[in-house]
């Protein structure tokens, strides 16, 4: 029993993909598509780029199927690939993309659902201002702090898992999160 039961379901699915089961890859894609794209979207703040990077993530997962070994949680491995690609993309040309990122796809985002009724113009404007502030505050964080906050806040990952994704110690993650939230408290204090 031991080792195989200790494996998480995703790792078991991935082992089936390794054995040539394409349907298991479909299940993994179905389960992790949105979290990966949403993480990448918040990292790079560009919808088209986030989907492009997510495609690369899943393509790498598929291509690595033959060498896959369930040494860590599947999501840790998946987010490690995603983070690596996002950080590379940001480092490759962040100066050129900085402006584009913040102006990107504001019309394509989901609107705030205050009630069942359509939000008023005023509500939409307030929401837009708030959202822009949040996006700017997150974008101004150093890349690793940003990744740590996004994994902690939106994906509810433990410090140990974030540490594995970012390839650093748990105490380093605590320090990253402390500094990141400190910056956010300072930049978003007026929203209290």
């Amino acid at each position: 029993m031991g080792a195989s039961t200790a494996l998480d379901l995703d790792a078991q699915l991935m082992l089936r993909v390794k054995d040539g089961d394409g349907a298991s890859f479909g299940l993994l894609l179905e389960k992790h598509r949105s979290p990966v794209i949403h993480f990448l979207y918040r990292m790079v703040q560009n919808h088209a780029i986030s989907e492009e990077l997510a495609q690369e993530v899943f393509l790498r997962v598929y291509k690595s199927r033959n060498t896959y070994e369930p040494t860590a949680k599947f999501t840790t491995w998946l987010f490690r690939i995603a983070t690596h690609l996002a950080l590379n993309w940001l480092r490759d040309g962040k100066n050129e993309r900085k402006q584009e990122r913040l102006d990107d796809d504001l019309d394509g985002r989901p609107r705030l659902q205050v009630s069942d009724r359509k939000p008023s113009v005023e509500q939409s404007m307030v929401y837009k201002v708030k959202l822009d502030e949040v996006r700017s505050a997150v974008a101004s964080l150093p890349e690793k702090q940003r990744a740590a906050v996004l994994m902690h806040k939106y994906h509810e990952m433990e410090y140990s898992q974030i540490a594995k994704v970012l390839n650093c110690s748990e105490s380093a993650v605590k320090s990253l999160l402390f500094r990141a939230y400190e910056s956010l408290r300072s930049s978003l204090a007026h929203m209290a």
């Binding site: 894609l29 598509r33 949105s34 794209i37 949403h38 979207y41 918040r42 919808h47 989907e51 997510a54 495609q55 899943f58 393509l59 598929y62 291509k63 690595s64 060498t67 690596h84 590379n88 480092r91 796809d105 394509g108 985002r109 989901p110 705030l112 929401y127 708030k130 959202l131 502030e133 949040v134 996006r135 505050a137 997150v138 902690h152 806040k153 939106y154 605590k174 999160l177 402390f178 939230y181 956010l184 408290r185 978003l188 204090a189 929203m191 209290a192």
Partner: protein, 166 residues
């Protein structure tokens, strides 16, 4: 309860604000926050951050995401074997430190190559010394020879003198 800020345990307050503490811990922090203005201020600001981040909803995934991905997978499956081989080594090339490592290897290799050249040229120095030593011996021998010839010459002259006088 010891004040988390004074105790350098802000992590507990962060966990409390994100609802990641156990019920007894939560009750303890809640009680402390009521009495500690510093922690109360921290919790208020952190909760504001937490709520502000909730505003940021992600955009929906485009409907043809899977179709595009499977098209790329099919394309990848058609790749020749050498292109697939590159996928195994790609993670190595993706490392941000790789250019630094490569540069270090080149510099170290260059240094060793240079050292090797120095080593290969160093034997010429004893050879040069040897040459100069040999040259000195030759000069000494030549001087000896000259001195000897000079001696012969003087002996010959001495021998000729009586015959001329006769």
């Amino acid at each position: 309860m010891i004040c988390p800020i004074e105790n350098d345990d802000v992590e507990l307050l962060l966990a409390y604000c994100s609802g990641k503490v156990t019920d007894p811990e939560s009750a303890q922090v809640k009680l402390h926050v009521v009495r500690c203005p510093e922690c109360a201020s921290f919790v208020q600001l952190q909760r504001a951050v937490w709520n502000a981040l909730d505003v940021w909803e992600p955009t929906p995934v485009t409907s043809d995401f899977d179709r595009r991905l499977y098209a790329r997978i099919a394309e990848a499956d058609r790749e020749p074997w050498y292109a697939r081989m590159f996928d195994f080594v790609r993670p190595v090339f993706d490392q941000p430190a790789l250019p630094l490592v490569a540069a270090t290897v080149i510099i170290v290799a260059g240094f060793f190559f240079d050292q090797k050249q120095v080593i290969s040229t160093t034997p010429s120095q004893p050879a040069a010394i040897r040459v100069s030593v040999t040259e000195a011996e030759q000069v000494e021998r030549t001087l000896d020879d000259i001195q000897m010839l000079h001696q012969f010459d003087s002996d010959a002259q001495e021998a000729e003198k009586p015959s001329k006088s006769m």
